[in-house]
Symmetry: C2
Subunit: 341 residues, 2 copies
Amino acid sequence: MSKPLIHHRTAEFGRMFTSVIEDMQFVYRTKGSVLMMTASGTGGMESAVVNLLSPGDLTIVCSTGAFGDRFVNIHKAFGLKPVVLSFEWGTAVEPEALRKTLKENKGVKAVFIQHTDTSTGVVNDIQTLSKIVHEESDALVVVDSVSGLAAERLETDAWGLDCVVTGSQKGLMNAPGLAFASVSERAWKAVESSKLPKFNFDFKLIRKSLADKETPWTPAISIVAGQAAALKLLRAEGMENCWKRHDELAAHARKLLKDKLGLPFYAKNPANILTGVKLPESVDGTKLLADILKEEGISIAGGQLHLKGKIFRLAHMGFITKSDIEAGVAALEKRLVGAKA
Amino acid sequence: MSKPLIHHRTAEFGRMFTSVIEDMQFVYRTKGSVLMMTASGTGGMESAVVNLLSPGDLTIVCSTGAFGDRFVNIHKAFGLKPVVLSFEWGTAVEPEALRKTLKENKGVKAVFIQHTDTSTGVVNDIQTLSKIVHEESDALVVVDSVSGLAAERLETDAWGLDCVVTGSQKGLMNAPGLAFASVSERAWKAVESSKLPKFNFDFKLIRKSLADKETPWTPAISIVAGQAAALKLLRAEGMENCWKRHDELAAHARKLLKDKLGLPFYAKNPANILTGVKLPESVDGTKLLADILKEEGISIAGGQLHLKGKIFRLAHMGFITKSDIEAGVAALEKRLVGAKA
């Protein structure tokens, strides 16, 4: 990323960009299309909604936290009224509840699900949920894997996932600034007939430029360079090893947190990407984490919205090592000893 | 940009982000709002359309090249039918033609104009055009200064500009990945009543987060860091000096191009950002520029769309020096000597 910028309308950029797209197909486990956008993960989420749907389409949004609610808000912003299947924060989507909702709502165009919701640290069983969607309907399966991809197992083609959106800054081990979307053949059919308005995120324009090894608009070139480098690491590691590494990191983090802190975990179906831990009521979580950042230079996330100050979320995804986790737990332990009792 | 990433929900990021916004107010010459988005310049252009307008709104788009046409295409994508005031590529917007169009079309909500159009290297007289809009109507003045800001003089407040969009990678001397929009008080009133759909680019959500020194979605943090550093250079230089530097760079480039190549310039009202030069018909412009890039490592842009292969565009904006220009002209001269006659 520190190298001089490559102009984005050159063969050199075309080669780098092509390697990113091909390596993303490897990470997504898809032979289908992968599109790249200069955007946050939220832009990627919006791109799925506006490219697949038309006014009046019936959809189901499964919500298990802040990011499920974000899908609902995107729908509402574009005039859609999704059926919202909500679950208590900290719990995962219940597969039979989704089946029941599909049976009750015929003609659903798409089902939106988070792979992992970083607000709670929950992982959803995408394989089972996708199977149920395909058994009960012709709906597209749209997955927000902004924080999940390359940390939790995900098989785009084998699981029948029609559109999976992600961001560059989590499991993809890059700086933030890029969003990606996989698009299945079935999803392309929906794109062809989609009537919601879009321009910046128009999948058809992006596909057209992709054929020329370009993006339609100037991309975040330095972040693309970072992504190309990070994807080489994932390619060398292989996805099975990558998922195993995250299994081990998560197990290591949870054992340490249990042994050293002994506080209750927040999520009932915890993801490999992070562990949410409930803080004792006597502890000001916001101050605790600000102190750790200031005094030790270790960044540990707090709770969002109604969980602000009440939980912490220790990340163990992407470019994070066992020793990073150990340093984080040690910093927490030092400050929580008195509060444990 | 090479420093470790600062998490975007921290006080440290808040300070950096605030400095970027304040320095952008300095560059824009505005006391009004400046909003930041993780996007290409095209995302910034879309943000102006979707935040200021409602279905059925009457607008005028002045088009002098590829980027004027882009504004038209964004309008169409969102169901609007603008009055398009087109000028031949290479010429600027004719002020009295705009006045006539305003007189013929009452109730125009906004007028869209490029400050500079990089496809042709033309600069428009934004001060005069804005004055005419305000004399003839209540329309908002929306300016695409993606390539113009911090290269050509622009006075957001003094010239009555309601929304000026720009990108990080031209006069702002940063890598691409960020878009900015200035929003006047009048423009905020339009935002309040706007009915076009938006989420990722929603100015109201961005303003709400700005009050907390945050962005609503994860920003391209490393590009924000680059922008903070580049803006310190502009702040130290001052805008008058910055514009003077670009006047001198452009004059230097044009004198050299005239003396050494003697080929006709493309634009009738050339901008300070780049000079477009017509190539002899015998020259394959695409190959010429590819050769220069490959053999000398100097990046010179070609023509876009119908100008592909027929012109070159020598940039002299932002982080470009006189010696860069001299190296570029020398590389061209070496290869065009035989073709001159």
